[in-house]
């Protein structure tokens, strides 16, 4: 399995950043950056990373199962993450979540039939002073109104 030249370059430089013999430290960064290209933690990806780091697939599975951002299945082209934790809740983040679910007809960690959008109700994303907040893939959107959310979803659907 090969990745883009940029990612291969990143991987090539990564090992030197950790002490000799402790290259397992690359595991989480490798999986996260590779996920950006592959989409989710495929068996092929897990095996490839295990092979490159000379660890067992079991060690990869232990880690993949633990971290929330490591996707166990294919998600939408755009992954919409809506925070409903306490600071966002106080600014009706829960209602944004309900609204997105109803509008898209999907729930937590589900994908629209066309594969364009997936939804995730996330825990605090560190945007508490700009609540309610959402993340569109890695991009933050602050002070999100129901109308802005509607428009975002419509734009993504029509994209």
């Amino acid at each position: 399995m090969t990745f883009s030249p940029e990612l291969e370059k990143r991987f090539a430089e990564m090992a030197a950043k950790y002490p000799e013999g402790r290259q397992k430290a690359c595991l989480i960064p490798m999986l996260m950056y590779a996920q950006d290209e592959v989409g989710h933690m495929t068996e092929e990806l897990k095996e490839e990373v295990a092979k490159r780091l000379n660890i067992s697939v079991l060690e990869v599975n232990e880690v993949v199962g633990y971290y929330t951002m490591m996707r166990k299945k294919r998600m939408g082209k755009t992954h919409l993450q809506i925070c409903t934790n306490i600071s966002c809740l106080l600014w009706d983040g829960d209602q944004l979540w309900e609204r997105a679910c109803q509008k898209l007809g999907i729930g937590h960690n589900e994908v629209t039939a066309d594969g364009k959008i997936s939804l995730e109700e996330v825990e605090c994303i560190g945007a508490c002073s700009w609540a309610p907040a959402i993340q569109v893939n890695y991009d933050f959107q602050h002070h999100v109104t129901p109308e802005q959310l509607d428009k975002l979803i419509d734009d993504l659907r029509n994209a």
């Binding site: 067992s56 697939v57 079991l58 060690e59 599975n61 993949v64 199962g65 633990y66 971290y67 929330t68």
Partner: protein, 693 residues
Amino acid sequence: MADPVTFTVNGKSLQAPAGTLVIDACKRAGIEIPAFCYYEGLALQAACRMCLVEVEKAPKLLASCTLPVAEGMVVQTESPVVVQARKAMLEFLLTNHPLDCPVCDKGGECELQDMSFRYGAGESRFTEMKQHVDEKQWSPVVYFDAPRCILCYRCVRICDEGLGVKALGVTNRGVYSEITPNKGDHLDCDECGACIDICPVGALTSGIYRYQTRPWEMEHIGAICSHCGDGCKTTLGVKNDEILRGNNRDRSGINGEFLCIKGRYAFDFVSHAERLQSPMIRVDGKLEEVSWSKALAFVAQRFGEIKAAGGRFGVIGGERSTNEENYYLQKFARVGLGTPHIDHRRSGDVPALLDALHGRQGALATVDDLYNAKGVLIIGADLAQQHPLLAFQTRADSRHHQAKVFTVTEGPVREDKVAAKKLRAGPAGQLAVVKTLGEDLKAAGELVVLFGDSIQGAAVGELVSFIDSLGVPAKYICLVDYSNSRGTCDMGLLPHLGPGYQAAAQTGMGQAEMLADPALDALWVVGANPLAGAALASQQAFVVVQDMFLTETAQRADVVLPSASAYEKTGTVTNTCGQVQRLRKAISVMGVKADLDIFGLLARGMRLDLGRAVPDQVFEEIRASVHGYNVPLPVIATGGAAMTDPVHGRIPVAGQAQVIQSARDTLFTSGSLTRYSKTLNLVLEAPGELYKP
């Protein structure tokens, strides 16, 4: 030992070496602190929080499993707050634990049941739904029921630290955390079942044993595993003359709780459908079942005739027969039949080692010595495959005592993982490679040297001289294949050596020569299968075979006498280290006889006076006459292992044509017995990547 520390538990002043954990110190003083995740010998976890204790001046309860004793420390293990905390932990644990005790295989032996009984609350306040996950089968042997799992991580640790396999891990997070096998949905491992036995609850269950009985309905009989030469004690669970399981949870025996797949499950050959349960005599070229009296009379008559005619007997003994049987057999051959042609299949050059060590005391290592050695040198053996207990001890030695391990083998072995140096060489080159390790071995300060069949004949003496030249104390283990390969040697089933390695009055033919001798008149094979890979040259030879199964050799026999397995008789066996242990009869199988009984009946039939063929009496004779076997009886009578010390003077070894070759069994094979173990075959049919036979 570190300076002792004085501290107080429940008002009682105690002492323990500095660094001792509170939970251990209390245990030694007879104060029980309950725990699930804490497990002696394995890495600390502090996960189950059952062992919380109150420590004066500490702001909160502390986990006694990670707390070293300190001078002046004041500990309470039964104060109201500690008692309440334990009750609360159990309440939390039981929230998601299916209370399916009535149908759970662990019922009666479950630590969670016991803890709830002793420390838990009588009622439950949990009224919510429980999480459910379906049960999974991970291998022919291992089943996993996730909801029952309390996540003590014992299985993960025993597999990684103990077995060096690391086939189990943890996936998911929080309340959804789950033990997971290395292949996603199944296991690729040693199938040793250690994870099942160590599981405190019914989360891991054995495909071999589950749902057959309640544990209290079984009798538990300590037997010695009849497979490899390590001599593990396996406690057999027996109900109605049927062995339902093998384990060693009480940590008795030289192996503690360790067992490999063979010790734990491969007792099942005893009930194989092809087990012989009636004597057979060849009539018109076909073996036909006859009565014992008829078969024995026929053999006695034919042996008598051949003896009277001055015929040539060949006698081949078995590596799983008891010392008593082997001793009696060689006596039968030498004295009763008057033949010097006695041998067995040899897998390690024990006589050469004993000769090289002549005049020394305590130069042979026990299983325990291996665990405590500062340095371990492994030559020409794949311990993890052929000697799983010795491999387990080596890993434990490395883990607990930071032992320096050196491997000199043909290919990679699992012990490489804990090795300070791993060197590769073919059998012929291994001694030369060992000699390059001089400085490393010297630095280790103390050695246990294990060697297989690559070091034999003059090379054994050369090895011992080389180790001597390093000036560090060393003990040796000559590796041999099966449960009594060592004892068979010690009892003199050799063409040139009698019991205790005394020169035989007359040197006879070895096994290969007997088979190749066209003039052989009779061949008597007991518990061996020499014709599996060789032909019998003599056409006229009268062949008598004592075996459990119709092996290749038995198929050539004129008379086949069905014999008892190691689990169906008493007697002693000697492991590869030279430790002698007693077999206890666990079950009776209809129609078979112990080999010793057969010998006695044949002797009587031939009117030979060879002494009574009763195990205890024969063993007395062995103790009196075989050098190094004068072991203390109480030790073996109570299930212990007594070290024999057969080293004395020079042993006449020169000039012998020797065939010494290990069968190179894997974890999943056991010579001719392999094919009769359903469990081994189940696993062999689904071969893993770790170890392909």
